[in-house]
Amino acid sequence: MDRQVFAYSVVSTGSFDDVGVVSTEIKRDLEEAGVEKDTVRRVAVICFEAEMNLALYTERGGNIQVVVEPDRVDIYVEDDGPGIEDVEKAMQPGYSTAPLWVHELGFGAGMGLPNMKENSDIFEIVSELGKGTKIHSVVFRRKEDAA
């Protein structure tokens, strides 16, 4: 198989309890598609942070698409939420607008976007106030550590 496309929608339910459910599903799907362990973990971490941001910062949620190719995995995250005023600032480790109750759940340290970038080989983010946010992340597959 040359190219496999997986599509997921993250619904922002107002409750934070379900956060991570989609990412664990993505992990399972990639494992079943025969993607090697190290790549799966990197993609799953990127998706987890993305899923969390969709749940936290958008009213309705958004979409995550994962495209698996023989040499790479592309992740597309899209929402039509409030957008980010200063993307450069949001990318800085420690910058967060998460409310206190999120901190109490062990999240909201401002490490999400930096960690997504850290796990990506290519990371692009475009955001417009009032329109939404788009992220494109690429993880190159390294076959030598195949699962």
Binding site: R41, F48, E49, G106, F107, G108
Partner: protein
């Protein structure tokens, strides 16, 4: 060391999957901040945490963590979270002891830091 030895060392009880008691776990990480767990390098077999929110089991799944040890008597409040962990093969343990004591005892018993590979020879 085995999960059973972990449980004995820190006076923990199994919340599920007790049949995995003989499984070896030799690397651990301790964190309450889930963002820290998601930013971890290396694979930890065991997560020691004081955070019992439902998301913890999902972070563990994504990070290939095989067992979670809740400290200070904490445990997931919802049965379906324990069920979910069981389905995904994540062992849950709960100890009344606080994190520092738990880490000290486990380190003494041979458990090592998952992010400090140079330690493994020690």
């Amino acid at each position: 060391m085995t999960l059973k030895e972990v449980a004995q060392t820190v006076e923990a009880e199994f919340l599920n999957l007790e049949d995995r008691a003989d499984e070896e776990v030799n690397t651990a990480c301790a964190a309450d901040l889930l963002s820290d767990v998601l930013a971890m390098r290396g694979d930890a077999a065991l997560l020691i945490t004081g955070e019992a929110a439902p998301q913890v089991v999902r972070v563990a799944d994504v990070m290939n963590i095989r067992a979670i040890l809740y400290v200070r008597g904490k445990r997931p409040q919802k049965k379906d979270i324990i069920r979910w962990a069981t389905q995904r093969g994540i062992v849950l343990l709960s100890t009344p002891l606080p994190t520092f004591e738990v880490c000290g005892r486990l380190y003494k018993a041979g458990m090592r830091c998952s992010e400090c590979p140079e330690d493994e020879a020690a």
